[in-house]
C-alpha cells in the first residue's frame, strides 16, 4: 500500500459520493443520503491516510517536509479540507442535500491532481523551508474550503429562492428542489461557513505576513498573491456587512459569496498559473 493507491481510492470515493448525492436528490430516499455521507467518510479517511503516507514517504527519501510542498500536494490537501468542513457541517446541521453541491469541488480537485499534476515528491527550495509554511497553508486552506462550501450553498440558494418566490406561499415545492433546505436555512449556512472561512483567511494572511517579514524583511509587498488574498478578504468583509444592510440581503449576498469563491480560486491557482510573483515556486 502506498499513497498513490490511497489517493485513487479517495478520488473514486468522492466521485461515488457525488453520484449518490445526486441520486439522493432525485429519489428523496433518506438511506441513499446516508450511504452518500458514508462514502464521504470513507473518502475522507483514505484522503487523510494518503496525505499521512506521503509525509512518511518524503521522510524516507530524506526530505523533512510536510506534504504541502507543491501544487499536487496542495490540491489534494484542498480536497481534504473541503471534506473536513463539509463533514463538520453535516454532523452539526444535518443538511444532506448540500453534499451534491459541495463534494463536486473536492472531486474536481482530486481528479485534476490525479490526471494532470506532477505527483513526484521533490525537495523544498530554501525559501519554503520553514514551519511557517505549515501554519500558513493549513489556515488558508481551511478558509478556502469553508468558502467552497459557502459557494455551493449560495448556488443552491439562488436556485431555490427563485422557485420559492414563484410558487404559491402554502404549496410545498416538490421534486429535486423540494429536497433543498429552505432558502432561509441556505442563507444561514452560507453565513455560518463564511464565519469560519473569514477568520481562517485572516489568520492565513497574518501568518503569511509574519513569515514574509521573518524571511524577507517585509510583511507586505503587494505581490500578486498577497494582493489577491486581500481582494478575497475585501469581498468577504463586504459580504459580512451586506448581511446587515437592507437591499443587500438575499440574492446579492449569495452572489458576493460566489464571487468571493471565484476570487479565492484565482488567488489560489490563477495567480500561479497566470500571473508571476514571489509565490510562483509554491505552485
Amino acid at each position: 500500500m502506498n499513497s498513490s493507491l490511497l489517493f485513487n481510492v479517495t478520488t473514486v470515493a468522492y466521485f461515488a459520493a457525488m453520484v449518490v448525492f445526486i441520486v439522493y436528490l432525485t429519489s428523496a430516499n433518506k438511506s441513499v443520503g446516508f450511504v452518500a455521507t458514508l462514502i464521504c467518510w470513507v473518502g475522507f479517511i483514505a484522503n487523510t491516510g494518503a496525505i499521512g503516507m506521503r509525509w512518511v514517504e518524503a521522510y524516507a527519501m530524506g526530505y523533512e517536509q510536510a506534504p504541502l510542498s507543491n501544487l499536487y500536494e496542495s490540491v489534494v490537501f484542498f480536497s481534504w479540507s473541503i471534506l473536513l468542513i463539509y463533514l463538520i457541517f453535516d454532523l452539526k446541521y444535518k443538511q444532506r442535500a448540500i453534499g451534491a453541491f459541495v463534494i463536486p469541488f473536492a472531486f474536481g480537485g482530486m481528479i485534476w491532481a490525479q490526471w494532470s499534476l506532477d505527483a513526484t515528491i521533490a525537495p523544498l527550495v530554501p525559501a519554503l523551508q520553514s514551519n511557517w509554511l505549515t501554519y500558513h497553508v493549513i489556515t488558508c486552506f481551511i478558509g478556502y474550503a469553508a468558502f467552497a462550501l459557502a459557494c455551493g450553498v449560495s448556488i443552491m440558494y439562488l436556485i431555490k429562492v427563485g422557485k420559492e418566490e414563484r410558487s404559491a406561499k402554502d404549496s410545498p415545492i416538490g421534486g429535486i428542489l423540494g429536497m433543498f433546505p429552505s432558502s432561509k436555512v441556505l442563507d444561514d449556512l452560507n453565513y455560518k461557513a463564511i464565519m469560519i472561512g473569514f477568520p481562517m483567511l485572516t489568520l492565513g494572511i497574518i501568518t503569511g505576513a509574519a513569515w514574509a517579514n521573518y524571511a524577507w524583511g517585509t510583511y507586505w509587498s503587494w505581490d500578486p498573491k498577497e494582493t489577491w488574498s486581500l481582494i478575497v478578504w475585501f469581498i468577504y468583509a463586504a459580504f459580512l456587512h451586506a448581511r446587515f444592510t437592507r437591499g443587500w440581503v438575499g440574492r446579492r449576498v449569495a452572489w458576493l459569496s460566489i464571487f468571493g469563491f471565484a476570487a479565492t480560486i484565482f488567488c489560489y491557482l490563477g495567480v500561479n498559473l497566470v500571473l508571476s510573483g514571489l509565490h510562483s515556486y509554491g505552485g
Binding site: V125, A127, M195, N213, W222, A237, A238
Partner: protein, 449 residues
C-alpha cells in the same frame, strides 16, 4: 444655518453608513486587481516592450498612477475613506453599546417581555423569597449570577454572559486602524535596502531600494564565509548560509550564521539572506598524470593562468561550475592549445577515457562568493503585529461569542408565585433557542416540585 446643519448631518450619516463600507470594500477589491495584472514599478521601456503599449497609452496609465497604484493618491484616498468610515461607525455606535453593557435594563416589564421570542412562565409554590432564592441559585449554577432588584413588591432578576463580545466588532475595526498606523510608522521611519558583501570583506553602509545615496549603518558587518549546498544529484540549491559578524569600532559584537528564513538582527536592523553569486575567478588545484611515464604532478592556480606541466606544455583552467549537469563541481580546462574538455571533482577517473598525453583530475576549486543581503528597518512592525493580534481576538469575539441575557420577574399571584422568564442573544439565535429550551426545563423542574 439650518440648511448647513442639514448638510453636515448628511455627510456624517454618509461616513457612518454600512453602504459606504460595502461599496468601499468592493471598490478596494476591484481596483486592487489592476496592480496584479500590470507589473508594478518597472521602467517605461519595459512597459512599452512587454505590454506592447504605445507611448500615449503609457503616459495615460502613468497619469492614473497605474504603475505604482498601491501608493497612488486615489488608492490611498480609498484606504483613507475606509479608515474614516471605520472611525465614524465606531464613534456613532460605541456609546450605545457601552450603555447596553454598563447600564443593562435590570427590570423587565411586560413591554420588554413582549419583545422576547424566547420566554416561559411557571407558577411555583412557597413565598416570593424562597422562589427568588431558588431562581438565583439556578441562574448562578446554569448561567451567570443575577442582579436582584426588588420593586413594588415584585422581584426582578437579570443576568448576562459574554457582554464583552459586543465589543468584538469594534476591536476588529480598531485593529485595522492600528495596522494602518504601523504601516505609516514603517513608511516614515523605516527603509528597505540591500547589500552585497564579498567573503572576507565588511561594509558599513547599505543601499536603499529607492535612492542613490547609501545609508550609513553606524556599525560594520563582515561576511567571514559563504556556503551553498545543493540537493544530491541535482542543481537545486538546498541551502545557502553566510557567517556574519557585527563589528563596532573594530570589536566583534555579534556572530551569526544566517540562512534563508533565519536572519540576523542588530540595533533595529535585520539582515536577510536573499541571493548570492560568484565573485572573482576561482582558484583550482589539479592532479595531472603523464600517461606515458606515469609521472603525476599537482598544479595549482587561478582561472586563465597557464599552469606549467613537466614536458614543456601547460594546463589552463577556463571555467568552473558548482554543479555541472547533476555531477557536482566541474572545471573546463585545456592543455597547450588543444580543445577544451571537462573534468569533474566527484569522478577523478573520468578523464582517463579521453586519451591524449595527459589525464587530468580536479582536486579542488575554490570559488569566492559574495552574499546578497536584504536589509530592513521597520520600527512599525510591532504596531502591525499588535493590530493583527487585536484583529484575531476581535474576530473571535465578533464571530464565535454572543451576548446572552436572561430576565426574570417574580410576583405574587392568586394561585401561587408567578415566575416569568425570557431572554435574548445578539448573535447565533438558533444556538440560543436550544440553550433556552434547556433552561426552561430547568426552571420547570426546580420550581414545579
Amino acid at each position: 444655518m439650518d440648511k448647513e446643519k442639514h448638510f453636515t448631518d448628511e455627510l456624517w450619516d454618509f461616513f457612518c453608513s454600512l453602504k459606504l463600507a460595502i461599496i468601499t470594500l468592493i471598490l478596494l477589491a476591484t481596483t486592487s486587481i489592476i496592480g496584479t495584472v500590470i507589473e508594478q514599478n518597472k521602467s517605461p521601456q519595459e512597459y512599452m516592450q512587454n505590454y506592447g503599449m504605445s507611448e500615449s497609452t503609457y503616459k495615460a496609465l502613468d497619469t492614473l498612477q497605474f504603475f505604482d497604484m498601491y501608493h497612488s493618491y486615489w488608492f490611498l484616498s480609498l484606504m483613507g475613506i475606509f479608515a474614516v468610515n471605520l472611525i465614524c461607525c465606531s464613534i456613532k455606535r460605541l456609546p450605545r453599546i457601552i450603555k447596553i453593557v454598563r447600564e443593562p435594563t435590570l427590570v423587565a416589564d411586560d413591554n420588554l417581555f413582549r419583545t422576547f421570542s424566547n420566554k416561559g412562565e411557571v407558577v411555583a409554590e412557597g413565598t416570593i423569597e424562597s422562589v427568588r432564592d431558588k431562581v438565583v441559585a439556578l441562574l448562578g449554577s446554569k448561567f451567570a449570577a443575577p442582579v436582584v432588584t426588588e420593586q413594588d413588591g415584585k422581584v426582578y432578576l437579570f443576568s448576562q454572559k459574554g457582554a464583552l463580545s459586543r465589543f468584538g466588532v469594534y476591536v476588529t475595526h480598531t485593529s485595522i486602524l492600528v495596522i494602518f498606523l504601523g504601516a505609516m510608522i514603517g513608511n516614515i521611519w523605516g527603509f528597505k535596502a540591500y547589500i552585497n558583501i564579498v567573503e572576507g570583506k565588511s561594509v558599513d553602509a547599505v543601499w536603499p531600494r529607492a535612492g542613490q545615496t547609501p545609508i550609513p549603518l553606524g556599525f560594520e558587518v563582515r561576511c567571514d564565509n559563504f556556503e551553498v549546498t545543493f540537493y544530491e544529484g541535482g542543481g537545486r540549491p538546498k541551502d545557502f548560509t553566510s557567517d556574519l559578524v557585527v563589528l563596532e569600532n573594530g570589536k566583534e559584537i555579534l556572530k551569526k550564521t544566517i540562512e534563508v528564513n533565519d536572519p540576523l538582527s542588530y540595533k533595529g536592523l535585520t539582515f536577510y539572506q536573499s541571493s548570492y553569486g560568484p565573485t572573482g575567478d576561482p582558484v583550482y588545484s589539479f592532479r595531472v598524470k603523464n600517461r606515458e611515464t606515469g609521472e603525476t604532478v599537482t598544479v595549482k592556480g587561478a582561472q586563465g593562468k597557464r599552469l606549467a606541466l613537466p614536458g614543456g606544455t601547460a594546463l589552463t583552467p577556463l571555467g568552473y561550475a558548482e554543479s555541472y549537469q547533476n555531477f557536482g563541481p566541474a572545471a573546463q580546462v585545456k592543455i597547450g592549445t588543444g580543445a577544451p574538455f571537462i573534468v569533474m571533482k566527484n569522478y577523478p577517473q573520468f578523464d582517463e577515457k579521453r586519451g591524449g598525453a595527459y589525464s587530468v583530475s580536479l582536486l579542488e576549486a575554490t570559488q569566492s562568493y559574495y552574499t546578497g543581503l536584504q536589509v530592513a528597518k521597520d520600527p512599525g512592525v510591532w504596531v502591525v503585529w499588535l493590530g493583527c493580534l487585536l484583529m484575531v481576538l476581535g474576530s473571535c469575539g465578533a464571530f464565535f461569542l454572543s451576548h446572552r441575557r436572561i430576565w426574570v420577574s417574580i410576583e405574587q399571584l392568586d394561585k401561587g408565585i408567578g415566575v416569568k422568564f425570557g431572554g435574548n442573544a445578539h448573535r447565533n439565535q438558533p444556538g440560543f433557542v436550544l440553550y433556552f429550551d434547556e433552561l426552561t426545563k430547568d426552571f420547570n423542574d426546580t420550581l414545579s416540585s
